[in-house]
């Protein structure tokens, strides 16, 4: 589906509905929902740092695919995102 044609896109961050404008990155949707992104190898909560795909701190699970860089991917209708803060 062409998400550009829509006015609002609904994604699910840890099961919660989040509405964002077309073109918004998954990282922005996650942060706007008050969530962090991943758990570090020693268990620290981490969120986006570089915003441009090089630091890999913003990794989340998107539609079942692990370790996706959320800053490099635009939110699309119905997308299911899982972060470190999933209950």
């Amino acid at each position: 589906m062409d998400t550009r044609a829509r006015e609002v896109i609904e994604v699910f961050v840890d099961g919660r509905s989040v509405r964002v404008a077309p073109g918004v990155s998954v990282a922005a949707a996650v942060l706007n929902a008050g969530k962090a992104c991943r758990s570090s190898v020693t268990g620290e909560r981490r969120a986006a740092l570089c915003g441009m795909g090089i630091c890999f701190e913003c990794r989340v699970e998107i539609d079942g695919v692990l370790h996706e860089r959320s800053c490099m991917i635009e939110a699309s209708e119905g997308m299911r995102v899982r972060t470190v803060d999933a209950g």
């Binding site: 990155s25 922005a28 942060l31 570090s40 969120a47 740092l49 915003g51 890999f56 370790h67």
Partner: protein
């Protein structure tokens, strides 16, 4: 896998890559423009449609160059008189077999570790701007912007326009250093500095020289910024970046000559452990791809333009990209005509670099327990116990995570004065499928 043929492949669609594609197309060459972002424009023109950015976007779209976004080039090699690129995108893996390649891989931010910098809510300066451009809401957020360089002002102004409350802009350089820079400004008017300054005066924000963020404090996210003078500022976010580092990985992998000037810190870090230095130069300087006067690297058929040659900014990138495009299309004569312009732009960039040279204080902010390598959670103490980068990698896994040392490598180079130069393909993490599907394509015959 059967390789896709291209006459000229340009890697990176920021100003340099766009200019290269436009120039090469204007000479009638067939051009494939590859970029890993969802849209062209690179970092500096992310979501900017107006002004020069809009003009160049339009030019490249009308140029007849084939633009492919969302493509990561993870390996490059010169084999049998051609240059092969291994790529991955959502559509799958691919090998591109090009006559000539222009590397316009841009730059990343330099992050210098400080206590608390791993807390959620601590971003890069360009990093926070990129996130806000992509939809992060900063309305009403209290933000301290720190680090170094003209980007601080520009980003603070941008964040302010988007509704953030900028508490302070902390520039590590001393104001006296700007005097020399002002001289360069007189010779080169019309630069971003002026525009940013104008905007900063509009937003009425405290801008301090000789100031830096010493620590970030918080719990589940950042709550306070502690400045070097002990002042504590309540914040919702911190944006901190110490300038830019060129992305030379692909150039290194293809075998192009890169000059490394070892950096050095002037004194021991706070853990009291003596650190090994390779020289006593004052500034921090990273690897730069070596090119001739028309942008050819030491590898035949491989050209390079923009930030990987040394941080130069948009204007430099446009000139060098244009030159690289002409040269790639065998019109060195046209490229030569731009040599004086390139020299002027580079002189300006060097003045900028001198003005914002890093002070040693910001190279020793990390405490022994501060994490330096965020991928593998390696602390400063563990790194400081090593003798060199390779040793640190082997003993601590520093730089061995998915960012492949893009963040900690540059930081360690600055803090420890070690040469960080070992780069191996794939230069980005890719799927096993992509490796297998393109496997062997770039191995020497």
């Amino acid at each position: 896998m059967r390789a896709e043929r291209a006459q000229i492949a340009v890697v990176g669609a920021g100003p340099a890559g766009i200019a290269a594609a436009v120039a090469a197309r204007s000479c009638g060459a067939q051009v494939l423009l590859l970029d890993d972002n969802p849209d062209v424009g690179g970092q500096v023109w992310r979501r900017v449609q107006s002004g020069a950015a809009g003009g160049w976007r339009e030019r490249v779209k009308q140029s007849g160059a084939e633009i492919r976004s969302g493509v990561t080039v993870f390996d490059a090699a010169r084999i049998g008189g051609r240059v092969l690129l291994r790529c991955e995108s959502a559509a799958g893996a691919r090998v591109i077999d090009a006559e000539r390649v222009v590397l316009a891989t841009g730059a990343r931010e330099l992050f210098l570790p400080f206590p608390g910098w791993t807390l959620p809510g601590v971003f890069g300066v360009g990093g926070l701007q990129a996130l806000v451009k992509n939809g992060l809401d900063v309305r009403g957020k209290r933000i301290v912007v720190g680090g170094s360089g003209p980007l601080l002002l520009a980003v603070a102004a941008y964040l302010s326009e988007r509704g953030a409350k900028i508490e302070l802009i902390a520039e590590q350089a001393e104001k006296s250093r700007m005097l020399g820079f002002a001289g360069a400004m007189v010779r080169q008017p019309g630069k971003i500095w002026q525009g940013a300054k104008l905007r900063a005066s509009i937003i009425d924000v405290e801008y301090r020289f000789g100031a830096w963020i010493a620590e970030a404090r918080g719990d589940d996210r950042v709550r306070q910024a502690v400045m070097n003078d002990g002042r504590v500022i309540e914040v919702d976010a911190i944006a901190c970046g110490y300038g830019l580092v060129g992305n030379t990985q692909l150039a290194q992998v293809v075998g192009a000559d890169v000059v490394h000037q070892a950096s050095a810190k002037g004194k021991d870090s706070r853990d009291g452990k003596s650190q090994k230095r390779t020289d006593l130069s004052t500034g921090v300087s990273y690897g730069r791809v070596v090119v001739d006067d028309v942008m050819r690297t030491s590898v035949e058929g491989v050209l390079c333009a923009g930030e990987p040659l040394g941080i130069g900014g948009v204007e430099t990138s446009l000139v060098e990209g244009t030159m690289a495009g002409y040269t790639a299309a065998s019109r060195d004569d046209l490229a030569r005509g731009l040599i004086p312009r390139r020299r002027r732009e580079r002189a300006f960039a060097e003045a900028l670099e001198r003005a914002f040279a890093l002070r040693e204080d910001v190279l020793c902010l990390a405490r022994p327990e501060t994490i330096v390598c965020r991928c593998e959670d390696v602390t400063m103490a563990r790194i400081a116990a090593c003798d060199h980068w390779r040793g640190a990698k082997l003993l601590t896994r520093c730089g061995m995570g998915p960012c492949q040392g893009r963040v900690c490598g540059a930081a360690v180079e600055a803090m420890m004065g070690w040469a960080v130069r070992d780069v191996r393909p794939p230069v980005f993490p890719v799927s096993m499928n992509a490796l297998a599907a393109t496997g062997g394509a770039t191995e020497a015959e």
